[in-house]
């Protein structure tokens, strides 16, 4: 790399910068007013705007879920019509996937935290970052236009020829998804470049926080897979509008080809949703057990392995679709391979706890919930990968339960862990720990009451996307509905105490969890430029055996030094000097 040969001549002088617990100037006080927020290029503000949008969409998607579950209380009509029901489940899926899960962790938490973990002032392309947000908003507007017109009744998968024949507003939604895709693509492009080019002195690839590794893997998937979604929905639009004849069998197309195109994006997309969650788990588990993450490279590289193998398994959504036997066999085999790196992660996380100093604060509680629920999601994924069993379980509630265990028990719980972990950093306020634990337990209980029965009724034969169902499944559905209400209450409590903390919460110190992570060495909330110095890194982000002072270093003078290797060398030389300084 070009910079490497340059900076060796430089002398880096470092000193300790202890973050103030009472910052006078933060990014929240720096630029005020609606207009300043709307035009900001600050990654932290953009992250918060994403977070608010995602929360709103989650509330909408969640409300839809509650309506759906209520309708399913009785085998026949409970209170809404079949067509309405079909629209509701379509919207629940589309909103949760495209507007909540995909942008949730990378665009909201990732945007806020990742540049700080790199010790950068911002992402590589701040204006592009803001543009991504507005593209996301534009996509949302298209979706709302579709709702205002005829809604959408195709399921979030848009399978042809149903979608090309449907009289609902398919074109508006597909254009919305097309636009939304670009938001995701640009965020991914931005993050990859940022991680490569914006690291502070000393942050070598082996000192990259695992959260950054996870976001890196995620961005790679976003960049490679999302364009294919864009072209797919564009072709679908043309198919419906002009009759292209590529996907609709009535005019010469092939519906199974559409499924290939769709899942080429949408399977890797589930890794876009879950891999960033893995990053959060690694961060939280290390902080709350005060211990180096066990198997750093295993966890970092398994994210990349998942990103790669995740591209080769899309056909496991299509075992019953009529794809060729060869393809089915290959896809099944590869599907098992993608399970291995995921298993490796879980084992490494559990081992990290061994001989740790474990504190069960709310973020850690969510990590434990994650490990339990996500394991179930993983095992049932193995079940669904097995060819013969898949034939029986495909498109039943077993699948519904499986992906909720992975997406909600995995991604969403990880998001909650991250949100509680970084909330003090983002807002400078502490939330009510008791209420947080109560709601975590409620969510855990509610979640299992909702989705465990779905495994059973799915295996019994209950198909998904059913408005009416045969009587034998009534008790399972009713239990599930009650569980969903408990879940709803859990989320309302979270909303309550987080809002309360904004206004009445205790002030958070710079580093309430005593984490070694770089983002915690800034003030809470951070300064407009994240750090008022250029941070210098000499230890890994999880080196809890090293003194805290050595994690608070920055360049003593403003130089252009931006090289990881030489920084370490020089810092080692000067170690004694600054050590005296900082300890004295």
């Amino acid at each position: 790399m070009a910079t490497a040969e340059v900076s060796t001549q430089k002398t880096l002088k470092v000193q300790r910068f202890k973050p103030s617990d009472n910052p006078t100037n933060t990014f929240l006080t720096d630029e005020k007013g609606v207009w300043a927020w709307m035009t900001t290029v600050d990654h932290k503000k953009i992250g918060i705007m994403y977070l608010v949008s995602v929360a709103i969409f989650f509330a909408v998607g969640g409300a839809l879920a509650i309506l759906l579950r209520t309708e399913l209380l009785t085998p026949a009509k409970t209170f809404i019509e079949a067509d309405t029901y079909n629209q509701l489940f379509t919207l629940h899926g589309a909103i949760m996937v495209f507007f909540v899960l995909v942008p949730s962790i990378p665009a909201a938490l990732g945007n806020f935290i990742m540049p700080m973990q790199l010790g950068a002032k911002d992402v590589a392309f701040p204006k592009l970052n803001l543009a991504s947000f507005y593209i996301y908003v534009l996509g949302a507007i298209f979706t709302f236009i579709a709702l205002a017109k005829n809604g959408l009744d195709t399921g979030w998968t848009f399978y042809t020829p149903y979608s090309t024949q449907s009289t609902s507003s398919v074109i508006w939604i597909t254009m919305g998804v097309f636009i939304l895709g670009f938001s995701s693509i640009l965020t991914g492009t931005n993050f990859i470049t940022t991680i490569h080019k914006m690291r502070a002195p000393g942050i070598t690839w082996s000192k990259l926080p695992l959260n950054v590794w996870a976001l890196y893997a995620t961005s790679i998937i976003q960049v490679l897979a999302t364009p294919v979604l864009a072209i797919t929905v564009l072709l679908l639009t043309m198919e419906k509008w002009l009759g292209f004849g590529i996907f609709d069998p009535a005019i010469g197309g092939d519906p199974v080809l559409f499924q290939h195109f769709f899942w080429f994006y949408s399977h890797p997309a589930v890794y876009i949703m879950i891999v960033p969650g893995f990053g959060i788990i690694s961060e939280v588990i290390s902080t709350f057990s005060k211990k180096t993450v066990f198997g750093y490279w295993a966890i970092a590289l398994s994210s990349l392995a998942i990103a790669f193998i995740g591209f080769l398994v899309w056909g496991h959504h299509m075992f019953t679709s009529g794809q060729s036997a060869v393809a089915t066999t290959v896809f099944s085999f590869l599907t098992f391979l993608v399970g291995i790196p995921t298993g490796i992660k879980i084992f490494n996380w559990v081992t990290t706890l061994y001989k740790g100093s474990i504190k069960m604060d709310t973020p850690m509680l969510y990590v434990f919930i994650f490990l339990f629920l996500f394991s179930i999601g993983g095992f049932t994924g193995i079940m669904l990968g097995a060819l013969s069993v898949n034939i029986h379980l495909h498109d039943t509630y077993y699948v519904v339960a499986h992906f909720h265990y992975v997406m909600m028990g995995g991604t969403l719980i990880a998001l909650l862990a991250g949100l509680h972990y970084w909330w003090p950093k983002m807002t400078g306020k502490m939330y009510n720990e008791t209420l947080a634990k109560i709601s975590a337990v409620l969510i855990f209980v509610g979640f299992n009451v909702t989705f465990l029965p779905q495994f059973v009724m799915g295996a019994q034969g209950m198909p998904r996307r059913y408005y009416n169902y045969v009587d034998q499944f009534t008790s399972f559905h009713q239990t599930s509905t009650i569980g969903s209400y408990i879940l709803g209450v859990g989320f309302l409590i979270i909303l309550y105490y987080l809002m309360q903390s904004l206004f009445k919460g205790a002030k958070s110190p710079a580093n309430p969890w005593n984490s070694r992570g770089l983002e915690w060495q800034a003030t809470s909330p951070p300064d407009f430029h994240n750090f008022d110095h250029t941070p210098v890194i000499i230890h890994g982000p999880y080196d809890y055996h090293q003194p805290m002072e050595e994690f608070q270093l920055g360049l003593a003078v403003d130089t252009n030094g931006h090289d990881p290797e030489s920084a370490k060398e020089i810092i080692d030389e000067e170690r004694d000097q600054w050590k005296n300084y900082s300890l004295g």
């Binding site: 910079t3 340059v6 002032k121 590589a124 490569h196 960049v223 364009p227 864009a230 590529i246």
Partner: protein, 217 residues
Amino acid sequence: MANHSHAHPTHLQHHFVDSDQQFEASKMGMWVFIVNEILFFGGLFCAYIVFRAWYPELFTMAAKELSTVWGAVNTVVLIGSSLTVAMAIRSAQKNQKRGIEINLLITIALACVFLLIKYFEYTHKFHLGIFPGESLYTYEGIDHPLAHVFFSIYYMMTGIHALHIIVGIGLMIWIYIRARRNEFSSEYYTPVEITGLYWHLVDVIWIFLFPLLYLIE
């Protein structure tokens, strides 16, 4: 030397440490975007390959409706424009303001020629009744029930490519205006470089579209 890099040049954005980091980051960002573009067109190429493998005779028959001569002319036009864009970057690197402007103008002109030829190709087909999509397609000169599918793919591929050309022309007009304002020099020519990368990509895609659509015998 050291002082120079410490001074904060006007083109340097606040979050970068120096011009070099900014240049490398911008260029890498563009390359990552090119990855996007490849997969974006990749979807179309995939549809093309699948249908060609299913109906090879359809492709042979339908490709006869496309003009090899005009396709070849357009290929040469785009190659020429790629050359002039490369020359524009070279001019920027050598601080030749006139060179940037002239080369950009030639590139824009060539891009317009490409679009013009494309326009005549399209209107000729519309005249025959070859429209994209089964509902509009009325041409009966190709004896194949799926003739409209080939032209759907053809219009989609060349249409999106033409859209990229139009975006490219817009970018180059913008770069041209900035060049007129003396914003570029050997110290800072990042926008010229990354616009050039984009333009070459558009050229490369056409390099594949041409034999795959026009040269099937």
